[in-house]
């Protein structure tokens, strides 16, 4: 039974080089990545050929909800928005400090026109300063911020913001109404006024020259909803702002 003996060869492949490459790639992605911010509603922004990039700091993003309340004639009566604020942290204003100042300011503006006075505890302010996107009616803000100290509070807050809360009394979104009276602002206008009135000059300056306010809405959102938000901004003389768009494929 003479058989040809085949020499046994090792099939071991040296993976060290491969591993080196993957670790390098991994490091690159870890360092360059900025995570997708979690937003209360997912929108697809319309496309444009504009090449101007969005600001990284000193800007307020207004996310417009595609849903709104309408009356019997189909006219929009109340919409809702969520806000995100990004602060220039190179100066003395940290993001946390800025948010706390903002909450104080908005409570001050709210208290001018409402009987039920708002005040926030240091814990609530702390919780607010840690938020990414925010937007609940001011009357429920205290209750919302109290969730932060509960176990699994952040996921409860996320659920509230996304409108998936089981409690029917919990409303998400800052209410926007048709309002052309500068002296009696609605809640959205209160927030935007507060943004301008904090002592942070960099943010106030960016809002004034128009680069500091970015409107983000879905391409399928009806025009009157966006129009109402724009009209609100016009009323408080924030008539310069930017619209967030995505890059149009192919360009011209």
């Amino acid at each position: 039974m003479g058989r040809v003996k085949i020499a046994k060869k090792s099939t071991f492949i040296d993976m060290t080089a491969m591993s080196d490459v993957t670790v390098l790639l991994l490091t690159f992605f870890m360092l360059t990545s900025t995570f997708l911010a979690k937003e209360p509603t997912q929108v697809i922004t319309p496309a444009s050929v504009s090449e101007e990039k969005v600001q990284e700091t000193n800007y307020v993003q207004i996310l417009v909800s595609p849903d709104a309340k309408r009356d019997a004639q189909g006219r929009v009566t109340e919409g809702k928005v969520w806000l995100t604020m990004n602060n220039d942290t190179s100066n003395k204003w940290s993001n946390e400090k800025m948010k706390m100042a903002l909450l104080d300011k908005v409570a001050e503006i709210y208290n001018e026109s409402h009987k039920n006075k708002l005040s926030f505890t240091p814990q609530q302010k702390m919780a607010f300063s840690k938020l990414g996107s925010f937007g609940v009616p001011l009357a429920q803000m205290g209750e919302f911020l109290n969730l932060a100290s509960e176990p699994e509070g952040t996921s409860k807050m996320d659920k509230w913001l996304q409108g998936q809360d089981t409690d029917p009394n919990h409303v998400t979104g800052i209410p926007v109404e048709w309002n052309q009276d500068d002296t009696r602002p609605d809640e959205f206008q209160m927030w935007m006024k507060a943004m301008r009135q904090t002592d942070n000059e960099n943010l106030a300056g960016a809002i004034k020259d128009g680069t500091g306010v970015a409107l983000k809405a879905d391409q399928n959102t009806a025009f009157d909803i966006v129009h109402m938000v724009m009209d609100n901004l016009q009323t408080i003389k924030m008539n310069k702002f930017t619209l967030l768009t995505s890059l149009k494929a192919g360009g011209e």
């Binding site: 790639l25 992605f29 050929v49 101007e52 969005v54 189909g74």
Partner: protein, 238 residues
């Protein structure tokens, strides 16, 4: 590389250990790294959003200068964006969940200055979004045609830039000069939108202004005249 060979010190002795090779298998390590890379690749946003700058007049100004747009309406083009819908309905037609929009436009004053729109004086015309088969109805062609003095000059500058004759800075300066040149005929474009039309269509129109180098344009509210004209036109062309 992943092997360590142990060498015996000195010559061969009895009872000395055999030459040993220690190999570390890196395959699981690579697998894990690949998974992590995939995770980071999927979670990152590489492309930043673009922005479109707009400046609206403050509301006080709008009320004071209500007649302004009427006065300068002679060289104005008014573009009206509407959503396609059934007669008398507020609910727009949708295709795959997207609202179907339509564009209308008129030159100069609505109905040539007359108060009630009729089939004779209604100067509203229907246009198509970019990519239309009928070129004469393509909104980009229409805007380009009205703005051809400026547009042609800008196109020449663009060609120079592409051929490397001028730098980006020179291009920007020259393009700005052309846009501000008062001797060229420039249209004023007023963009209006009905409540039902989608926001995306408005941005598309604003984008067309950029593409066609239109320097004077504004977003305005629908007037009562615009609505009646639109209804009259739609009733006639149904």
């Amino acid at each position: 590389m992943a092997e360590v060979q142990q060498k015996e010190a000195g010559g061969k002795k009895k009872g000395a250990q055999k030459k040993m090779t220690i190999r570390v298998d890196f395959t699981p390590m690579v697998d894990m790294n690949m998974l992590l890379i995939t995770f980071f690749m999927l979670c990152t946003t590489m492309i930043k959003s673009q922005t479109l700058n707009i400046a609206l007049p403050s509301n006080e100004k709008v009320q004071n200068e209500e007649n302004m747009s009427q006065a300068s309406a002679d060289d104005a083009i008014t573009i009206i964006i509407d959503a396609k819908r059934k007669p008398g309905s507020f609910i727009p037609d949708t295709v795959n969940g997207r609202v179907v929009n339509e564009i209308y436009y008129y030159d100069g004053k609505p109905c040539n200055g007359e108060a009630v729109p009729t089939a004779e004086n209604n100067n509203l015309k229907k246009a198509d979004f970019v990519g239309s088969k009928d070129e004469s109805k393509d909104i980009r062609r229409i805007i380009q045609d009205r703005n051809k003095d400026v547009w042609k000059k800008i196109e020449l500058l663009k060609k120079d830039f592409r051929d490397g004759k001028i730098t980006q800075e020179q291009f920007d300066v020259k393009a700005k000069e052309v846009r501000k040149d008062e001797t060229l005929k420039k249209p004023v474009i007023i963009i209006k939108s009905t409540p039902e039309a989608s926001y995306g269509a408005l941005v598309e129109m604003l984008d067309e202004m950029q593409i066609n180098s239109v320097s004077k344009y504004q977003i305005d509210n629908m007037s009562r005249m615009d609505s009646t004209m639109l209804i009259e036109f739609q009733n006639r062309n149904r």
